[in-house]
Symmetry: C2
Subunit: 324 residues, 2 copies
C-alpha cells in the first residue's frame, strides 16, 4: 500500500476525470514505467481503471475494503461472526480457519480475505478469488453432531447463502445439489464444508463460502466466462459485501437453531423450495456407473433421490450432478 499511496490519493482527489500518464509522472516525480506498474498494483488490489490513449487513466471502481465494524453493525447473531479476522491476502481462508480451529478457536470465528492466492474448491479444485470484489470466507463450526449428519449441514449452509443473496440483491439465486448457488444457470457461489472428525464425532467443521460479488466481465479468465457470473453482472449494481456477509450469518444462525430444535425436515423443505435441481433431468457418474433420471427430492440424510425412466429410485450422496 505504501508505494502507491500518492498515486491513489491523486486519483481519489480527481474523482472520475482522466489524468494523463505524463501528468502523473511529473506530479509524483516518477517514471512513466513506474506509473504503469503502480496502476497495475492498484488493479491487483481491486481498483479498476479505464485507459484511453491521449487522455490517460480514469479510476472507475473503488473496492469497499472490509471493516469489521461494517459487518458487526448488521449482525443479529449470538455466535456466528462474533470473532472476525480480515486479511488483505492469504493462501486460503479454509486453511487459516482449520489451523485456528485445530488450536481451539471458538465456534463462529470467521476468516475473511480480500484475496486468496490458492483458494480451495470442492473435489480438490482451485477457486478463482481475485482481490477486493468477492466474498472469500471460512466459518468455524463445532456442531454436536454424529458425523452421519454432516451432509445435512452442507445443505443448510446452501439454503442460508441462497436466502441471503436473494434478500440482499433481489437476484433469482437457486441451489444446484448439493450446494452450488446459480443465477440464470451460471455459478455465482461455491460452498465447501470440510470437517475434522474423531471416531464418530465432529471435532470441528469449516464452512467455506466463495461468492463472486462485484467482479466485472473482464475479471474472469476465458475458461470461466461461460459457467461463472457475479452478483454485479446479474443485477447491474455494486453489492455491499459487508451487508451480504452479515445477512448470510444471520440466516445461517436462524436455520441452525431451527435444525437443532426441529431436526432436518424444515431445512429439507426450504432446500427443495430454493433448488434448481428438483424436477430436472440430471446425470451423475459414480466410480462404477452413470446414473441418469429426474431429481425428485432430498432423502432424509441429505442425498439426492434420482428416479430412472424405469421408475427405480437411486440416492446419490456425493460428487457432481449435472443438469441435462
Amino acid at each position: 500500500m505504501m508505494k502507491n499511496k500518492l498515486l491513489l490519493d491523486l486519483f481519489l482527489q480527481s474523482s472520475q476525470t482522466f489524468i494523463s500518464g505524463e501528468e502523473i509522472s511529473r506530479r509524483l516525480n516518477i517514471s512513466r514505467t513506474a506509473v504503469w506498474k503502480q496502476i497495475n498494483q492498484l488493479r491487483d488490489m481491486g481498483y479498476e481503471f479505464e485507459a484511453v490513449s491521449r487522455k490517460g487513466y480514469r479510476m472507475t471502481f473503488i473496492p469497499d475494503f472490509y471493516k469489521v465494524t461494517d459487518i458487526e453493525a448488521k449482525l443479529n447473531t449470538k455466535v456466528l461472526g462474533r470473532k472476525i479476522q480480515i486479511m488483505e491476502t492469504t493462501t486460503s481462508t479454509q486453511v487459516d480457519a482449520m489451523t485456528q480451529a485445530e488450536s481451539g478457536t471458538e465456534e463462529g470465528a470467521l476468516f475473511i480475505a480480500e484475496q486468496q492466492s490458492s483458494g480451495r474448491g470442492r473435489l480438490g479444485r482451485k477457486w478463482f478469488s481475485p482481490a477486493g470484489k468477492g466474498i472469500w470466507m471460512s466459518l468455524v463450526l463445532r456442531p454436536e453432531l454424529p458425523i452421519r449428519y454432516m451432509p445435512q449441514l452442507t445443505l443448510l449452509t446452501g439454503v442460508a447463502v441462497c436466502k441471503a443473496i436473494r434478500s440482499v440483491t433481489g437476484a433469482e439465486a437457486a441451489i444446484k445439489w448439493p450446494n452450488d448457488i446459480l443465477i440464470h444457470g451460471k455459478k455465482v457461489c461455491g460452498i465447501l464444508l470440510e470437517s475434522a472428525t474423531e471416531d464418530n464425532k465432529v471435532k470441528y467443521c469449516i464452512a467455506g463460502i466463495g461468492i463472486d460479488v462485484n467482479l466485472s466481465a473482464e475479471d474472469y479468465p476465458e475458461e470461466l466466462t461461460e459457467i461463472a457470473t457475479s452478483l454485479k453482472l446479474e443485477t447491474g449494481h455494486t453489492i455491499d459485501r459487508a451487508l451480504l456477509i452479515a445477512e448470510i450469518l444471520n440466516e445461517m444462525e436462524l436455520l441452525y437453531n431451527r435444525y437443532t430444535s426441529e431436526g432436518f425436515t424444515p431445512i429439507q423443505v426450504e432446500w427443495e423450495e430454493h433448488s434448481v435441481s428438483i424436477g430436472q433431468a440430471v446425470r451423475t457418474e459414480t466410480l462404477t456407473e452413470t446414473i441418469q433420471g429426474v431429481a425428485k427430492r432430498l432423502d432424509p440424510s441429505g442425498g439426492l433421490v434420482i428416479a430412472a425412466p424405469s421408475g427405480e429410485e437411486r440416492v446419490v450422496y456425493s460428487g457432481e450432478v449435472e443438469i441435462i
Copy 2:
C-alpha cells in the same frame, strides 16, 4: 546419541555386570555428575539400569530400536505399511501423518516414533508414550467411503489390533467398545481414528495406534498403574515390536479387503467375538442423560446397543462406555 556413546559402549561390553560410578568417571574421564546425567539420558531413550549402592550400575534392558527392514521382513501386505517413516522422537505421529496426508502421501503410509512428546488420545486426552518400549504409530488410510461408515473402520481397526496381539503374544486381549484393547481388565492399547472430510466424502483417515509393549512397572506414572498395563507385564516376556507392527498391518489389510467385498457383517461378528463389552452391565453419560443396562451387540452402523432393565434398547454412537 553422540554424547553418551562411550558410556553406552562401556555397558554393552560389560554385559550385565555392575560398574561403579567411580570407575565410569575414571575410564571416561568425566565427572560423577556427568555419569549420572548420561545414564538418565539413556534411560530416557528406553535403556534400563539397576543402581545399587557400593556396587554401581548394571544395564538391565536394551530397547530393540526399530529398523524398517525388520518390519518389512514380516509384512504380507500390498498397501498398508509399504511406506514407513521411523522417528526417534516426535510431537505426535498423528500430527505427522495428518500433515503428510494433507500434502498427498499415499494410502498405507506408516509413521512410527520411538517416543512422543505430546501423544494424542481419544476425546482430546494426552497419551503417555515413553521411549523405546511402546508402539506409537499412525497409519494413513484413504477409504472410498461415505462418512457415515467411518465408525465401522474404527471397529475394524480394533479387531485387527486385538487379533495381532493375541497371535504374537498369546495374551487374552479383548476389545472394550469402541476400541480400547484390555488384558485382565487393564488397558494395553488405545486406538484413535481421525478423519478429514469434504462434504460427504472422506479425504483421508489417520488410524492412530498406541500399545504399551515392553513397559515395566516403574515406567508408569502413579495415576496409570491401576488402569494401564503392558504386554510385557502381562506375559512376562519382552515382545518383538517390529513383528507386532507387521502382524497388525497384515490383519488389518485382510479385514479391510473382506470389509470391501462383504460389507460390515463379518467385521461385526469378529468384533463381538473379541469384545469384553458384550453381555456386560455398562453405563454411559450423554450430554443430557445417563444410559445404563446390558451391552447386547453392535448395531449395523457400529453403535453399541444397550438394553435397559425395562427391556428398552438404546444405541450409543460415541463417548465412553464404562463396564460396571
